[in-house]
């Protein structure tokens, strides 16, 4: 057996990984930072990959072993190497996506099950108190009331469309919790987005803005959400995020209703909403879809705002964002985000 550690993938190494992943019905994910590949070197001429595992940030995923080598401890070996590499990075917690049948093996490696979706995917974490500690933190914000709502938002940046959603939702419950996606993969950083949201709802009563941490549409719970991989959203991931919300987060906050904006643009989000309705329905949590605000006959899109902002067309943004957001976008503090947006845009997009 030859073990190979890859921190800079090439076409060849990706091919080696996918050759094993395919056999287990798994797909490559483009945000993978590091992989372990084990080759069977019995045939001297041509060593073939028989086991692989990877991680992105602190999430272990894309684990697969060739059917001919199942049950030989290769999965454990791969994961042990990944854990050692991650331990060296001194991360706070390690997550793993794996098949439910692997739960016992991972428990031996120090992982604890958080939630399982159908028969396909399980999410586990290394910190024995990770999810419970997060729920305790949420619990501290509980309020009394008959209808407690929750809205999960990214807000990249905070627009009038977001404001509208919040207004509508808060009208239908006695208290609304806004859970902000905390991944720093959006062009506007988590801190920036949080600040804009807080400023944008400061006048609305009975609203609490909280960060979602590792457990709300994070790369741990919903890795493909942020990926522009040209594949269909994996239903299983969406269900993991939904189930986690239903089992842990909603009870901690006492949520009775989950609000979502209807999604005209993004198929990823549309599908996610669908999963949400199914899974939350099973737990007796209502899911209410709110129609998005229209401006000039179109729903307000945060990506349009980003594009205009990056091109310096601030005048065209005034009808799309609240004053607080506009102030920020016109200030030098927003330059960092502007550069990030420009870096991501293609030439074609820039001229639109």
């Amino acid at each position: 057996m030859i073990e190979r550690w890859v921190s800079n993938h090439t076409e060849e190494t990706i091919r080696d990984c996918t050759s094993v992943l395919e056999l287990q019905g798994l797909l490559w994910e483009s945000d993978i930072e590091y992989s372990v590949i084990i080759y069977d070197d019995d045939e001297r001429q041509h060593s073939r990959p028989v086991a692989t595992g990877s991680f992105s940030s602190n999430v272990i995923k894309c684990l697969a072993v060739h059917p001919s080598h199942e049950g030989t401890g290769l999965a454990q070996r791969v994961v042990t190497l990944l854990i050692e590499e991650l331990s060296e990075k001194q991360v706070d917690n390690i997550f793993v996506f794996t098949k439910p049948s692997n739960i016992p093996a991972f428990q031996l490696l120090g992982f604890h099950e958080i939630v399982t979706a159908d028969t396909h995917v399980t999410l586990m974490e290394q910190d024995p108190c990770g999810i419970s500690r997060f729920c305790d933190q949420l619990h501290a914000h509980r309020v009394s009331g008959e209808h407690i709502g929750a809205l999960v938002m990214n807000c990249n940046p905070f627009t009038l469309g977001h404001r509208y959603l919040i207004e509508q939702a808060s009208r239908e419950c006695s208290h609304l919790f806004i859970l902000v996606v905390s991944e720093d993969r959006s062009e506007f950083s988590t801190d920036e987005r949080l600040a804009l949201i807080r400023a944008g709802v400061s006048d609305i009563e009975s609203v609490t803005v909280l960060t979602g941490g590792d457990y709300v549409i994070s790369r741990a719970t919903f890795p493909t959400y942020f990926l522009k991989d040209d594949k269909l959203v994996r239903t299983s991931y969406a269900r993991i995020d939904a189930r986690l919300f239903a089992r842990y987060l909603a009870p901690a906050l006492g949520v009775t209703t989950r609000f979502v904006g209807d999604e005209p643009f993004c198929p990823v989000t549309r599908d996610y909403n669908r999963q949400l309705q199914e899974v939350l329905g099973e737990s007796g949590i209502e899911v209410k879809v709110i129609r998005r605000l229209e401006h000039d006959g179109q729903a307000i899109s945060a990506s349009k705002v980003r594009s205009l902002f990056a091109q310096g067309r601030l005048g065209e943004i005034t009808g799309l964002v609240p004053e607080s957001t506009y102030q920020f976008l016109s200030s030098p503090a927003a330059d960092r985000a502007k550069h990030k947006i420009l870096a991501k845009m293609t030439v074609k997009e820039q001229s639109v």
């Binding site: 042990t80 854990i83 331990s87 001194q90 428990q107 120090g110 910190d127 108190c129 500690r133």
Partner: protein, 98 residues
């Protein structure tokens, strides 16, 4: 010593132990142990860990131990390393070591 971030040391190899030390949000010392020799040595392992934490003057920490049959000296070594990493302290005070 104050725990300010997550620190871990050791491996999951046989005879070794992987110890992860995290902040416990001011709720004292909490130990979670998973050991291949839990029945025979679980108590002993916890004692060693508590004793060592005391020597390091650590009063608040969540210590997770994945033990694969490590001896006391390995547990101590890994714990001391993890605690220092979690406290962000690079220099070990050798004079105060047992």
């Amino acid at each position: 010593m104050k725990i300010i971030k997550t620190g871990s040391a050791g491996t999951l190899e046989s005879s070794d132990v992987l110890i992860t030390v995290r902040s416990n949000n001011g709720r004292g010392v909490q130990i979670t142990l998973s050991s291949t020799v839990e029945k025979q040595f679980g108590k002993q392992i916890r004692l060693v860990v508590l004793e060592t934490l005391k020597q390091l003057d650590v009063t608040e920490a969540a210590v997770d131990i994945q033990d694969k049959g490590a001896l006391d000296c390995a547990i101590q070594a890994r714990l001391i390393a993890a605690v220092h990493r979690a406290a962000g302290i690079e220099k070990i005070n050798w004079e105060e070591m047992r």
